[in-house]
C-alpha cells in the first residue's frame, strides 16, 4: 500500500515535469524561417522586469507572424552564473537573436561574445555592458535602453525646486555594484550639487522595502535635519515612507523614487512620495527585440539607442 502511494506520487511528479517540458517545446516548433528571439532577463521577481517581460510577450503576440520569443529569467538580480548558463542554453538552441538584460555588466560579456561569434545577433538592454570589458574582448554589442543617470537627475531636479541651498538630504542606493544603481546615485548627486543641497549619507537599501526602511530609520536618527530621501527605486521609497511614518517625520521629509511601479502611484496621490521616473519598462524589451529584428533583416552595423525616461509626479496620476 505504502509503496504504491509512493510510486503514484513519483509518477505524478514525472508527469508534471514531462507536461511542463512539453509546453516549452511547443514554442520553438513554430513555422520555419521565422526568426527566433531569446529574451534573457534579470529577476522576474522584480515588478520592473516582470513588466518588461509582459510587454515583450504582448508585443510578440501582436506580431506572431514576425518572430518567436523565448523568454527566460533568473531568480534574483545577482545570479550571474545562472544567467551565463541561460545564454549558453539559448546558443545550444540556435536562436537567431539574444536580447539580454545582464545581471552584471562585466561577467556576461565573454559569453555574449561567444554568442556573437556564433553568428547570433546580441542586443543589450536595460543594464549597459561595461565599455572597457567590451573593448577588451574586442566585441561591439549595441545597447538599447534608458539613461539612468539622466532619469535620476530629472527626479532630483524636480525635488530641488522644493529645497533650499544647504539643505541636508540622504540617498538610499540600490544593491552595491549594480550599474543602474550607481548611475542613479550619480544622477541624484548631480542634481543635489546643482541645487547646493548637501548629501549627508548614502547607503544601500538593496533594492528592497524592508532593508530600505531599516537604513532610513538609522539615517534619520543620525541626521535630524534632513529634508529629503532620494531612493534609487520605488520599493525602497515605500520603505523610506514607512520609516519616516513610524518616526513621525513623514510631513517634513520629502521622498522620491524611481521606476513608477503601481504601488507608488497611490502614495503620490496621498502626497507621501513627491515624484518617480518612468523608464517605460514595458517597452524596453520591445525596443531591444525590434532592434534585433532590424539588424537581422538589414544586416546594419549596430549602434546604441537611447529610450525615453519621463518624470512622473502627482499631477500625472489623477
Amino acid at each position: 500500500m505504502n509503496r504504491r502511494w509512493t510510486t503514484l506520487a513519483l509518477a505524478a511528479a514525472f508527469a508534471l515535469v514531462a507536461a511542463s517540458a512539453g509546453c516549452r517545446k511547443t514554442q520553438p516548433a513554430g513555422g520555419p524561417g521565422k526568426p527566433r528571439v531569446a529574451l534573457v532577463m534579470k529577476s522576474l521577481a522584480n515588478e520592473f522586469f516582470k513588466t518588461m517581460e509582459d510587454g515583450a510577450r504582448a508585443h510578440q503576440q501582436a506580431n506572431a507572424g514576425e518572430y518567436e520569443l523565448i523568454a527566460n529569467g533568473i531568480k534574483d538580480e545577482t545570479d550571474v552564473a545562472r544567467q551565463i548558463a541561460l545564454v549558453e542554453q539559448m546558443m545550444a538552441q540556435q536562436v537567431d537573436a539574444i536580447v539580454i538584460a545582464p545581471a552584471n555588466s562585466e561577467a556576461l560579456v565573454p559569453v555574449c561574445k561567444r554568442a556573437a561569434d556564433a553568428g547570433i545577433v546580441v542586443v543589450n538592454i536595460d543594464n549597459k555592458f561595461d565599455d572597457g570589458a567590451l573593448k577588451e574582448k574586442g566585441v561591439s554589442i549595441p545597447f538599447v535602453g534608458p539613461d539612468n543617470r539622466k532619469g535620476a537627475r530629472l527626479a532630483g531636479a524636480h525635488l530641488a525646486k522644493k529645497l533650499a541651498a544647504g539643505d541636508e538630504v540622504v540617498i538610499v542606493e540600490g544593491a552595491p555594484n549594480t550599474f543602474n544603481g550607481i548611475q542613479r546615485k550619480l544622477g541624484f548627486e548631480d542634481a543635489m550639487k546643482a541645487a547646493g543641497a548637501k548629501v549627508v549619507s548614502s547607503q544601500t537599501g538593496e533594492w528592497m522595502t524592508e532593508p530600505a526602511s531599516k537604513v532610513v530609520s538609522g539615517m534619520i536618527t543620525q541626521h535630524r535635519k534632513i529634508k529629503a530621501v532620494l531612493c534609487a527605486n520605488d520599493n525602497m521609497a515605500l520603505g523610506a515612507v514607512a520609516a519616516l511614518k513610524s518616526a513621525g517625520r513623514i510631513d517634513d521629509v520629502l521622498v522620491i523614487g524611481y521606476d513608477n511601479i503601481s504601488a507608488v502611484r497611490a502614495l503620490m496621490k496621498e502626497g507621501r512620495i513627491l515624484c518617480t521616473i518612468d523608464q517605460h519598462a514595458d517597452q524596453i524589451a520591445v525596443y531591444g527585440i525590434q532592434y534585433a529584428l532590424e539588424i537581422l533583416r538589414t544586416k546594419a552595423a549596430p549602434t546604441d539607442k537611447e529610450t525615453p525616461v519621463d518624470l512622473i509626479t502627482a499631477d500625472d496620476v489623477k
Binding site: 522576474l44 524592508e210 536618527t221 515605500l238 518616526a247 503601481s262 502614495l267
Partner: protein, 348 residues
C-alpha cells in the same frame, strides 16, 4: 496528550550530565537553587554583549544613545523575534526551517492581495494570512515525516515553492495597502508599540510551554534522540508536525506585523530572514543538533543582531565593512557562549 508518570523524562533519553540549558524542571531543593543561580548567569553573557554593542555605538555616534534609537529598534524587531521563537522550537527538535523568509513573503502577499485586489475586510484578510503559515508548516512536517526526509531539504524546497507562489499571487507586484493595515503597527499601550508587546507575550508563552509542559519536554526529547523516544512508546511524528505548524503560524503572525509596519507587501521581502533567525537562535545558545534551547535567549539573540544592524547604519560604515562586522559579531557571540557553557559544565 496527557502527562504520564515518569515515562517521558528528558533525562531518560538525554545524555547523562547534560541538562537542557535553563529549561530543566528542578524538583529537589539544590536543583532549584542551582537553576536560580544559573538563570542570572544564563542571560548575563548575552546582556553583556548587548551592553557592549550599545556602549561602542554610543561612543562612535553621539546620536545613538537616545530614546529615538530604542523606539526604532522596538519597532523593527517584533517580526524577527516571533520568527526566532518558531525557529528555536524547530532547532530544538533537531530540525531546521529554511522556508520562513519565503513563507513570510507569501503570507504578506496574501494579506496584500486580499485587501487591495479582492477588497476583503481587514480581519478576514488577516485570518487568510494567518492560515498560510500553518499550511506551509504542516506540509513541511508531513513531507519530512512521511518520507523520512531531512527537514533541511524539505524546507529548502518550500523556500522556492513559497517564493514562487508569492510571485504568482502578487503578480510580482508590490501591493500598497496603506491606511487599512497601518493601525496594527502604529498602536501603542503606555508608549510601547503593540507589535513589541505581542512579540514579548509570544516569547514568554513559548518559554513557558517549552520549560513546563509535557509538549516542551517531548520536543527536547525528540531533538536529543528521536529513536529513543520512539522506542519508549511515544510517536515523535505528531510532535514534529506540530512544531513545524507552530513555526509556520508564528511566521504568518510576523508577516502581519511586518506588512503593517511597511504599509505594503513586497514580493521580495524576507529573503535571507531564515539565516538571520538561525543566527539569532544560535547566538542564544540553542544547539543546531537539537535537544537544547531557550526562547528567551533567542530573544536576546535577535536584539543583538538588531542593535548591531541599527548601530552600523547610524555609524555609517560602508556596506562591505558592515557585512564583515556583522559576520564577525555573530561568530564572536557564539564563541562567547561556548565558554559560558564550559564554565557552567565545569561547575556543575
Amino acid at each position: 496528550m496527557t502527562p504520564r508518570a515518569g515515562d517521558n523524562e528528558p533525562s531518560a533519553v538525554g545524555p547523562a550530565g547534560r541538562r537542557p540549558g535553563g529549561t530543566a524542571i528542578g524538583r529537589a531543593g539544590p536543583a532549584v537553587r542551582r537553576r536560580r543561580y544559573g538563570a542570572v548567569q544564563e542571560y548575563l553573557g548575552m546582556l553583556a554583549v548587548l551592553a557592549g554593542l550599545i556602549a561602542v555605538f554610543s561612543y562612535l555616534s553621539p546620536r545613538f544613545f537616545t530614546p529615538l534609537t530604542f523606539q526604532m529598534i522596538a519597532g523593527q524587531v517584533p517580526g524577527a523575534v516571533i520568527i526566532a521563537v518558531g525557529m528555536t522550537y524547530v532547532l530544538i527538535i533537531a530540525g531546521i526551517d529554511l522556508s520562513v523568509g519565503s513563507v513570510l513573503a507569501l503570507s504578506s502577499g496574501v494579506l496584500g492581495v486580499c485587501i487591495v485586489k479582492l477588497s476583503l475586510p481587514v480581519p478576514v484578510a488577516v485570518l487568510a494570512c494567518l492560515g498560510v503559515g500553518p499550511v506551509c508548516g504542516l506540509l513541511n512536517g508531513f513531507v519530512s515525516n512521511r518520507w523520512r526526509l531531512p527537514s533541511f531539504i524539505v524546507t529548502l524546497g518550500m523556500l522556492q515553492i513559497a517564493r514562487g507562489a508569492t510571485q504568482l499571487v502578487t503578480d510580482s507586484k508590490t501591493q500598497y495597502i496603506g491606511a487599512p493595515i497601518e493601525p496594527i503597527a502604529a498602536a501603542t499601550v503606555v508608549g510601547i508599540p503593540v507589535p513589541f508587546l505581542i512579540a514579548f507575550a509570544i516569547v514568554i508563552a513559548a518559554q513557558v510551554v517549552l520549560s513546563t509542559t509535557v509538549f516542551g519536554r517531548y520536543m527536547r526529547a525528540v531533538g536529543t534522540n528521536e529513536e529513543a523516544v520512539r522506542l519508549s512508546g511515544i510517536n515523535p511524528r505528531p510532535i514534529k508536525l506540530a512544531v513545524f505548524a507552530i513555526c509556520g503560524l508564528l511566521t504568518s503572525v510576523a508577516a502581519v506585523l511586518h506588512t503593517s509596519r511597511l504599509s505594503s507587501a513586497d514580493p521580495n521581502t524576507g529573503s535571507g530572514f531564515e539565516l538571520d533567525a538561525i543566527a539569532a537562535v544560535v547566538i542564544g545558545g540553542t544547539s543546531l543538533m537539537g535537544g537544547r534551547g531557550s526562547v528567551v535567549r533567542s530573544f536576546f539573540g535577535v536584539l543583538i543582531i538588531a542593535v548591531l544592524g541599527a548601530g552600523l547604519v547610524v555609524v555609517d560604515v560602508g556596506d562591505p565593512t558592515k557585512k564583515v562586522i556583522t559576520g564577525g559579531v555573530i561568530v564572536a557571540a557564539v564563541i562567547l557562549d561556548y565558554y559560558r557553557r564550559r564554565l557552567k559544565r565545569g561547575r556543575a
